[in-house]
């Protein structure tokens, strides 16, 4: 049971933190259409997070709710990947973060559709439709920026430089992921690395970009899945949790 709780919280945290980041664009996008699109993705991600938190809450029982899980856990209790908590940067960095993560989620939820756990399977089926759209949208933008102007090419290259070190963690399983994979609740994320790299490479080629060299994983930052985050997460949570921390126990 504990594995399932840890695992669903991890999935929920990934979606919520990226939603929170993307939502910072709302009202500030490069054009209205893009403002609407990135907000849409943010809304989908909040929806995913809520499904997983609600499920975690029923497993935990007692007084747990989706909101107690999102608003009352600390930095060290959050289990999201480091990638999703990285700052928005410019549009190129936001797009690339979304592309890397959507490509990962796309592969992950394809496997989780067949999870032994009915709830996870059902959420994955629903989520996969949204993620396919996120992946298509972000891929198109990677291509557009890579093959757009000199400036956009430079900016997406810089984004690769900023974010690549956070991609490896997605494929290094935490203990609860290993156990979830064993129980066929989850999947072995290390097996997603090759298809992920191939798909990213395909899009990069169309975008006239190249993958950074493989350095046997030594270059990758890890720890988020076990609650050891970058310094950014504390600030994200201090915004996210402000109301619940200031006015504990109220209804909103």
């Amino acid at each position: 049971m504990n594995v399932l709780i840890d695992y669903t919280l991890h999935l929920a945290d990934n979606s919520l933190i990226l939603a929170q980041r993307n939502s910072e664009w709302c009202g500030h996008g490069p054009a209205l259409e893009q403002d609407i699109a990135i907000t849409n993705i943010s809304l989908d991600l909040i929806g995913q997070a809520r499904f997983f938190y609600q499920y975690s809450a029923t497993l935990i029982g007692n007084e747990a709710t989706e909101d107690s899980l999102a608003y009352l856990r600390t930095e060290r209790e959050y289990r999201n990947c480091l990638l999703v908590e990285q700052p928005n940067g410019d549009w190129a960095q936001t797009i690339l973060r979304q592309f890397f993560f959507s490509q990962y989620q796309f592969l992950l939820f394809q496997h989780l559709q067949d999870s032994n756990d009915e709830q996870i399977a059902a959420i994955s089926v629903k989520t996969l439709k949204e993620v396919s759209y996120h992946l298509r949208w972000s891929s198109e933008w990677v291509i557009r920026l890579g093959d757009g102007t000199d400036e956009s090419h430079k900016r997406i290259m810089k984004a690769i430089d900023e974010l690549w070190m956070y991609t490896g963690e997605m494929f290094q399983p935490a203990s609860y992921e290993l156990q979830a994979a064993e129980e066929r609740i989850g999947t072995d994320v290390s097996s997603l690395k090759e298809p992920w790299t191939n798909s990213v490479n395909d899009i990069f080629q169309r975008a006239t970009l190249t993958l950074p060299p493989d350095r046997n994983g030594k270059f990758f930052q890890t720890g988020g899945k076990d609650g050891k985050h970058t310094e950014h997460l504390g600030y994200i949570l201090s915004d996210l949790q402000y109301m619940q921390r200031t006015y504990p126990g109220n209804e909103w």
Partner: protein, 307 residues
């Protein structure tokens, strides 16, 4: 057809409630008035995203966060319809946006007030969207076709927004002491600026007469404002809160609520750019536009290569 004939034809359409469409002949001043009004409306939607956007990251529950995000996104959508309606009058979205950034075009002054607490999100939904709806319901019958049709879509979403805002306040009004105080404080701060949304008094409104003749507007500022006061004065009873106006009382004879004098000095001061957030709002819009320039250029360059 002679100019006289065209004018007669146009006048007959207005009289007979036939909508004016983009390809129809229309007097220059009618075109300009519509451009001014529709673009001002579009800008209000876009600038209006900022004060509410200020609370997205801090919304108190996941459900509230999702609702708020969807609401602010709706406003971006409204901006899009309205910029498109404007384009049918022969002005591009880019030109229209440049007029906002240069300060030539105005937007609703209400968005120059800050959102200080979560209750402000409720107050904006209830009061600001409430005032907007009264104006917009009238505009669903405006004489310019594309504008009227955009309004029909927008009104449906706005009434949903108003209910959401009221519901935020209703929860606060039944909550803890702090929540009740937060609720009353937000109402106190947003009430008078909401009344100002209907514009100057009829006697001082420079654009009103001609707009009424052309059926761009169908009710005067003061009439609309009165409708709003009558509506809100009733709704606030459900909240058990007070409107910050000692002169507010039901007038049996008029069959309307009487209300106190608006601070017109404040109104004109904010219109002229000296409100609490005028600078921040315009700066934020300019910054988004300038920082988005390379993105728009890249998209255009890529599209060009694919031709």
């Amino acid at each position: 057809m002679t100019l006289q004939g065209l004018e007669k034809n146009f006048g007959e359409k207005i009289d007979n409630e036939v909508k004016i469409e983009p390809k129809d002949w229309m007097p220059d001043a009618y075109r300009k008035t519509n451009i001014r009004q529709i673009s001002q409306h579009a800008h209000s939607e876009i600038v209006g995203m900022l004060p509410e956007g200020n609370w997205i990251s801090r919304a108190p529950t996941l459900k509230r966060k999702a609702i708020l995000l969807a609401k602010v996104q709706d406003e971006a959508g409204h901006g899009l319809y309205l910029y498109s309606a404007c384009e049918t009058l022969g002005i591009t979205r880019e030109e229209t946006i440049n007029d906002l950034h240069s300060g030539k075009a105005k937007y609703s002054s209400i968005f120059n007030y800050p959102t200080l607490t979560w209750a402000d999100i409720g107050a904006i939904g209830w009061l600001v969207d409430g005032a907007a709806i009264i104006n917009q319901v009238m505009l669903t019958r405006t004489s310019y076709g594309p504008y009227a049709r955009a309004m029909v879509r927008i009104c449906k979403e706005e009434s949903f927004h108003q209910r959401q805002g009221f519901e935020i306040l209703l929860v606060l009004s039944k909550g803890s002491k702090e929540q009740k105080e937060m609720c009353q404080d937000a109402i106190n701060r947003w009430w008078w600026p909401s009344l100002m949304m209907f514009g100057p008094k009829d006697a001082e409104s420079t654009n009103s007469d001609q707009s009424m003749k052309w059926k761009i507007k169908r009710k005067s500022n003061d009439e609309l404002r009165q409708n709003f006061v009558d509506m809100i004065a009733e709704q606030i009873k459900t909240l058990g809160m007070k409107l910050p106006d000692d002169n507010l009382k039901w007038n049996e004879e008029r069959n309307h609520y009487d209300f106190g004098e608006i601070n017109w000095e404040e109104f004109w001061n904010v219109v002229k750019g000296n409100g609490p957030c005028n600078k921040q709002r315009l700066d934020a819009r300019r910054k988004a536009w300038e920082e988005g320039e390379w993105v728009r250029e890249a998209a255009a360059a890529y599209a060009e290569k694919r031709k």
